[in-house]
């Protein structure tokens, strides 16, 4: 599905990712943990195609294709989805209008007919309900004035609608109460199958009780310094990152 080799990324000549290697196979769930500022969001954004980042070395291939040759929207249409750590507020664009556009863009790409107004409304209503949101939020400007939880639910709504092959959730669980957390987990688990893969960036083991990962990676100073299974997350929750930092800094020193 996704193969990242020796990825180096910098922004404003400052090196942020320093040789990431990551293999994600169809059906797998990878959790990425790590201290603040270690480069988790950078990795997520680079996969989605954010242009401010400069790839100074390494390769990313997605479904056998060179990712760097694909535009942002092409990546999305080919099934990459990023749930933003900080979803952008877009005043003046209603959530329903936005949803309409992204749904029809996806359908057009797949050679399907666009949904008419009635079909769209019906489809959206169902999906909105499935992520525990109030229908009235469709009328509101996209993410504008949404609470933290509403923004994250809205990301999950988009994921549910777009049905990606590779979903990257960047701290979609941060700051959520347990109900919202379950919604996020349900959103993922409903999509989970042998074909789809997930990269779940999180600080909290709590989410991983609901979304059980196949691998847990620890990112530190732009490198994956440790990889384990779900038990690694439990250990990190209990012990924090200091022991990992010491190990890593000791090795590199």
């Amino acid at each position: 599905m996704l193969s990242i080799k020796n990825l180096h990324v910098s922004i404003d000549n400052q090196s942020i990712l320093n040789g990431i290697n990551l293999e994600v196979k169809p059906g797998e769930v990878h959790a990425i943990m790590g201290p603040n500022g270690s480069g988790k969001s950078t990795l997520a954004n680079v996969i989605a195609g954010r242009e401010e980042y400069e790839i100074t070395a390494g390769t990313m291939t997605y479904k056998g294709e060179d990712l760097s040759a694909m535009d942002i929207n092409e990546r999305a249409l080919e099934g990459i989805f990023l749930s933003f750590q900080y979803p952008v507020e877009i005043p003046g664009v209603s959530t329903s209008n936005f949803m309409k556009h992204i749904i029809n863009a996806g359908r057009k790409h797949k050679g399907l007919e666009e949904l008419d107004a009635m079909q769209m409304l019906k489809f959206l209503r169902e999906k909105v309900k499935s992520v525990g949101m109030d229908e009235s939020m469709l009328k509101r400007s996209l993410n504008e004035g949404f609470s933290g939880g509403e923004k994250k639910r809205n990301e999950v709504l988009q994921m549910a609608v777009l049905e990606p092959s590779l979903a990257i959730l960047d701290e979609t669980d941060s700051g959520l109460d347990i109900d919202a957390l379950k919604t996020v987990a349900d959103g993922v688990n409903q999509l989970r199958n042998l074909e789809r893969s997930f990269i779940v960036v999180t600080h909290y083991q709590r989410l991983l009780n609901y979304i059980v990962p196949d691998f847990v990676h620890v990112l530190y100073k732009g490198r994956i310094v440790k990889t384990g299974d779900r038990h690694l997350a439990v250990e990190l929750e209990a012990k924090g990152y200091d022991w990992i930092k010491e190990e890593a800094d000791g090795v590199s020193a």
């Binding site: 989605a48 195609g49 954010r50 242009e51 401010e52 535009d71 942002i72 929207n73 990546r75 999305a76 249409l77 989805f81 990023l82 933003f84 979803p87 952008v88 877009i90 005043p91 003046g92 664009v93 209008n97 936005f98 556009h101 992204i102 863009a105 996806g106 790409h109 988009q158 777009l162």
Partner: protein, 451 residues
Amino acid sequence: MSTQLIDKDLELKQRWNILFNSFEQSLNGHKFTPMHGMRQSSMKIMEEMSFPTLRDEDWKYTAVARILNNKYVLPSRENSLAADLVPHFGSNLDTYKLVFYNGYFRKDLSSDLPLISGLTVCTFDEAMNDAISRDLIDKHHHQWVGRQDQIFLHLSTSFSKDNIFIYVPSGVHMEKPIHIVHMTSATDEALMVSPQTLIIAERGSSSRFIETYETVGTDATQPVFINALTRIVLNENACVDHFKVQDINPDCFIIHQLDTDQKRDSRFMAFTADLGARIARNEVSAHLKASNTYTQLYGITVGTKDQHTDNLSFIDHAQPRCESREMYKAVLADQSRGVFTGKVMVRPDAQKTNAFQQNNTLLISPKARMDTKPQLEIFADDVKCSHGATIGQLDKESLFYLMSRGLSHKEAASLLQFAFVAEVLDHLSFPEFEQEIAKSIHDHFNQSGTL
């Protein structure tokens, strides 16, 4: 002025004189009407004036040479087939249509008017048969024109032909808007068209007007210059909404002056959408001549290619407790340019004035340019006035967000641009019109290389 400029000015005036003489000849029996007296007097006033240059403060960013350098002729009255004259904008709107083609009123293409007692809609020539109409036109048009100092207004008046007069009687609420459709088509000679409209809204009446300018036929070889006046008089407690859509070919020119007098308790709203034209210049003047009036001026400009759109507004707060709100927004792509001048005068008597002005621009390409100039002159102390101008670019974060959901750059940009200008549409309270104009705006977003 340098001798070169003086020569140029003289040459221009000679040209207008020749054109005027041939125009007079064509009038035959209509030479001795009040209307023609007014044309002659405007022609005379013009002789004492000169055309603006970039040194005139109000024309600092808009050069008129490109407009004036053409050798214009006046269109002849011709009866083009109705089938060729289908207006593009607003054909779905439920309105009374008054259709003009190349400046000539086309009754055959216009709607029958509603049977409202006292409602008058006719050309100035027709109005001469009715004493009341004649007096109103004399007072609010002829005499008023005589006091004005804009050379383009006098040029327009000198060559005006089928001016339209609309009288909305006291207390009448007109449910359906009147839609004045101005269609022109270019020929192998440069055409000058000078449409003028006078609207009198009587006490307590309410009415809406749509005024559209568009070019029909595409094999244009020479430009059309539309030099138009719309004058609206709002009597006590009258309410008038005026919606203008300008979507003429990108090699044509339009200068449009909208002038209103507002009496006590009256409410006036004007919206202009400037989508076409090589050079478009709008001047809106609202004279708040009595207390407790409300004035809203709104504008949307979509500039592509070499388009140049200049909006100048002037709100004259002369009396207490009046409120004015202005919001002009522009999306400028390619090499297009925009200009906004927002003059607000608050005279010493105009206590308790509220005057708010806002001008926001999105520059979509590095070659696009906006010049914005708020000009507030406040001579009263108990007032609330504000103005704000911003010039920005599309937000990168928002673009990335939208594209990461599968939208192309163009689709994403178009959504953001539309959201930007849609804030203006939210104030129009006319959903059917908003839908139509939204379509036109999207069409123009699609026409540019960089949008």
